[in-house]
Symmetry: C2
Subunit: 560 residues, 2 copies
């Protein structure tokens, strides 16, 4: 057995089933090893950001790591943005990066680069295989690292000569006790022991009668923990909030509703205003996404005490236990909290906007759907419109690195073959990883992609106006709106030329349609959901923010 | 003046004209600063790999740095692969990366990451602006670093609060004497002083009568140096070779022809076999692109002495001087060496293949063209077919990170408004950065893109067969060819579904056509060259390597 075969066999023995791959010459032995290993599924990705984003989606939905297969430093670089998102999602993921042969590295061949330095920025664990004889154990250690505590990105760097050298052996799963952790809390949570002191402190705070909030994140947003959190909120009167961009939020009819913290600091500050006690469960103390002059970065009010119920690395079971213990310590906490019932299906009519798209999605979302949300500004109405839809999962842009949605949908669809995936994509974000559409076609994945085609980086139009005072905005021509110089126009406007998203999808083998009214969109969205395999609906909506187009047309007329 | 304004004004004062940009919230003040600065050209790129590759193309053609504008760590990550290529090309490039406000960084907001670590892997110079008052000087220092010696990637990290804080001042160009260098040779070369010892040693070697070769690279491949190198070769009988993937090779009718070192080590070893003396001018001692079991990584024969004429950081003028001095020391070196005359224009007929595409390109290539070559296996016939074409520049994949070609063409076209750009792209490579097509349309760039649509990672089909012995190739089904298991088929074959490149181009605003015969290709290629603005021709060619398609059809029938 050579090193590559040992790595693949060990990953398989540790439960890794899917390999999202864009290999190169230095990974050919890994490709051969995949062929030698029954049950290994190799999924081709035509860009590494698709591979890493798909592995993230797979890990979020299964709780088990998928592997990526990347080619040297540049391949890792191409996958870096979605590894950043996976890191922020605490996704279990094994990142496999090929490298030059050990004896070739000192020659500084054209593709030589510092893989370790780049990998370290997104990985909770990095190891370089030194010898084929330890390659199997290294692979097993990677899975153990990826699955310890809540989860993390584990990167294994595999030199070509380690891959092709004999003397290797497959290794099985590493026992839990010897797994790496990020601290004592990881092991504690994994063993489902609850920190009694933390529970007692939080219970005292919630019983004292002062205004309080419960901020949920990560594992607290899965059904078992969410139901206990709702009991806590019902018994204490604490406001039930969750982080702005959850990795995976279970929601819909019958599940406790939880309010997401706003993206802009003003909104989040308003949600937390007056709270004297903030109990964190699976969440970190909230901070602003970006800094703005004169706005605080920490969002917790100054006179508010923060209680961390679970520690940073608790998993679903540990978080649920902690919340259950907390609920049990509150008076009257044994009733059933109210949960939203199913919403009336209302299909929208009239002009196509973010609002009418959201209404159609809310009306048609199928039971058990996985919703990937990278809708950005166009998605403002989605949370309310889908709150009473049949039960579903909601996957967000955890790390803010756009280009996540289409790849995430690929991974989620492979993880959940029986569940429809709905991918709601802003056009600017979708352009970062359009190659994912081809993998959807290749694998015949049941994904309905909606591209909000507003032909604008609308969120930047908003941020520009927030950051640059109109009086300070340069380049305005006389008579035009302030703050609309040529650089702003050229860099934030995507309408010259307008992107034909239906055409892009069809060119990669995905059937597609274009909708310009709510009725058209509803019909095309319903058709896409009803038919198997991937579909794309280009929703031509006006941009929510931004100056008029250069031609002077009102915003709504800018859509094709 | 705020920090962002000082940075943009200083870059402009130091000669930076073009900003290839994909900004985010933390870079909005830089966008406003671009509007405040007359003469700054902001070019929107819908993916950061387009921005960095375009800056590389611009730098290769002008010798002056363009700036990129990237959003935090993930934006830098998306641009990393083409920065790797730019580093290998020794391109002058200023990489501008926005970051969170200094006081926001410790909060570990979702987009926080270790930008410095990632930047260090591709940059010859990295600096983080600490204060708006030094921002202008930092920007000037970045240009000085980028343009010292032969050139390098200089990365300046600009926190948002440094951008928006007042008290900044623009800085002018840094005097040459205080510029950073990579060693004594850099300054020497910049001052056009020739190392007499190196010249004398090389001259003695070339005069001794033993077989010798001259290996050119980097600045030695520009006309002034190339003519001197040809004199050296003519006078000494040394074989005239150049590196495998030059950043910019001037060639065509009337220029000395130079033979590129082969990609595969066996080929390069054959080219260098028997040489007892190898003189390097602007080139490094050659090594194999990848390691293969049983093949040496260093390509220089064991009994061959190597002479470095110029050092690693010489520029065009220094390299030319050194070669001229060397030629002057050789007997009979004052004649004019033979150069190829114009080739007969022969337009091909019959099936469309890599060979007939090359013939059409050779027959139709316009005077002064800039050819971007990422044709990979399909381009095997290009060097011979274009050797006698009118004078042109040939830009290669310097670092081996595919996805370079389309962005490089964008930058080259902006750098050379009067010159046609011909971009020869393998389909697998083109899929890494297709977003460049949109920028071509937005800017109305005169680029003719040829996509070799062989629906295969054909180079990997070749490498797989080189690396995995047929007897060892797993997963073969009984009766099929050896070494063609499902993972290999799934990961190296791009034909399910076939990519519609003409459709992808049209969807991004680039007129496109599809050609399936040599006659069709010739007509469409000629039309694309004749019309202004960008065009794409999808050349449906068979793959040069690989097993039969799963359906069992012969290779040539696999094309759509």
């Amino acid at each position: 057995m050579n090193g590559a075969e040992a790595v693949v066999a060990s990953l398989r023995a540790c439960g890794v089933e899917v390999f999202f791959a864009n290999p190169g010459t230095s990974e050919m032995h890994l490709v051969a090893a995949l062929d030698a290993e029954p049950g290994a599924r190799a999924v081709p990705c035509l860009f590494e950001g698709v591979a890493t984003g798909a592995a993230d989606g797979y890990g979020r939905m299964t709780g088990r790591p998928a592997a990526t297969l990347l080619h040297l430093g540049p391949g890792l670089g191409n996958g870096l943005a979605n590894l950043h998102n996976a890191r922020r999602a605490a996704t279990r993921l094994v990142n496999l990066v090929g490298d030059h042969a050990t004896y070739h590295k000192p020659l500084d061949a054209p593709l030589e680069s510092d893989i370790d330095a780049v990998a370290g920025t997104v990985s909770g664990w990095v190891r370089r295989c030194r010898d084929s004889r330890t390659a199997g154990a290294d692979a097993a250690a990677a899975v153990a690292a990826a699955t310890a505590g809540r989860g993390r990105v584990a990167t294994l760097i595999l030199p070509a000569d380690v891959s092709w050298s004999p003397g290797a052996a497959a290794a099985g799963a590493v026992p839990r006790a010897s797994r790496p952790t990020t601290g004592p809390s990881a092991e504690t949570a994994t063993e489902y022991a609850v920190a009694d002191d933390a529970v007692a402190e939080a219970a005292a705070a919630l019983r004292c009668g002062e205004p309080a909030a419960l901020l949920l994140g990560g594992p607290a947003l899965r059904e078992p923990a969410l139901r206990e959190a709702a009991r806590v909120a019902a018994a204490s009167g604490a406001r039930l909030l969750c982080e702005t961009f959850p990795a995976r939020l279970e929601r819909g009819a019958g599940l406790p509703a939880v309010e997401r913290l706003a993206y802009l600091p003003e909104g989040a500050l308003a949600q937390l205003r007056g709270a004297r006690h903030l109990v964190l469960a699976g969440a970190r103390s909230p901070v602003s996404f970006f800094a703005y002059p004169g706005t605080p970065g920490r969002l917790v009010p100054e006179d508010c005490r923060v209680y961390d119920l679970t520690g940073p690395d608790s998993d679903v079971r540990g978080t649920r236990e902690a919340l259950a213990h907390l609920a049990d310590r509150l008076p009257g906490s044994h009733g059933t909290p109210a949960t939203p019932g199913p919403a009336e299906p209302l299909t929208p009519t009239g002009p196509l906007t973010g609002e009418t798209v959201a209404a159609a999605v809310g009306a048609l979302l199928p039971e058990g759907a996985v919703v990937v949300d990278e809708a950005n500004t166009s998605g403002l109405w989605l949370p309310a419109a889908t709150a009473g839809a049949p039960r579903h999962n909601w996957l967000c842009l955890t790390g803010g690195a756009i280009g996540q949605g289409l790849p995430l949908a690929v991974g989620a669809a492979l993880a959940c073959p029986g569940q429809p995936v709905v991918c709601l994509e802003a056009d600017g974000s979708a352009m970062f990883t359009p190659q994912a559409l081809w993998t959807m076609a290749r694998e015949g994945l049941d994904i309905t992609v909606v591209v909000y085609a507003n032909s604008s980086y609308a969120i930047l139009e908003m941020e520009y106006d927030r950051l640059i005072a109109p009086s300070a905005a340069p380049g305005s021509e006389p008579g035009s709106e302030p703050g609309c110089g040529p650089a702003r126009r050229d860099l934030l406007d995507l309408s010259r030329p307008v992107l034909d998203w239906a055409g892009i999808a069809r060119s990669m083998g995905v059937p597609a349609a274009r909708a310009t009214s709510a009725e058209e969109f509803t019909a095309e969205f319903a058709r896409a959901l009803a038919e198997p395999g991937p579909h794309l609906v280009q929703a031509c909506v006006p941009a929510l923010f931004g100056p008029p187009s250069p031609a002077g047309a009102p915003k709504a007329d800018r859509v094709p």
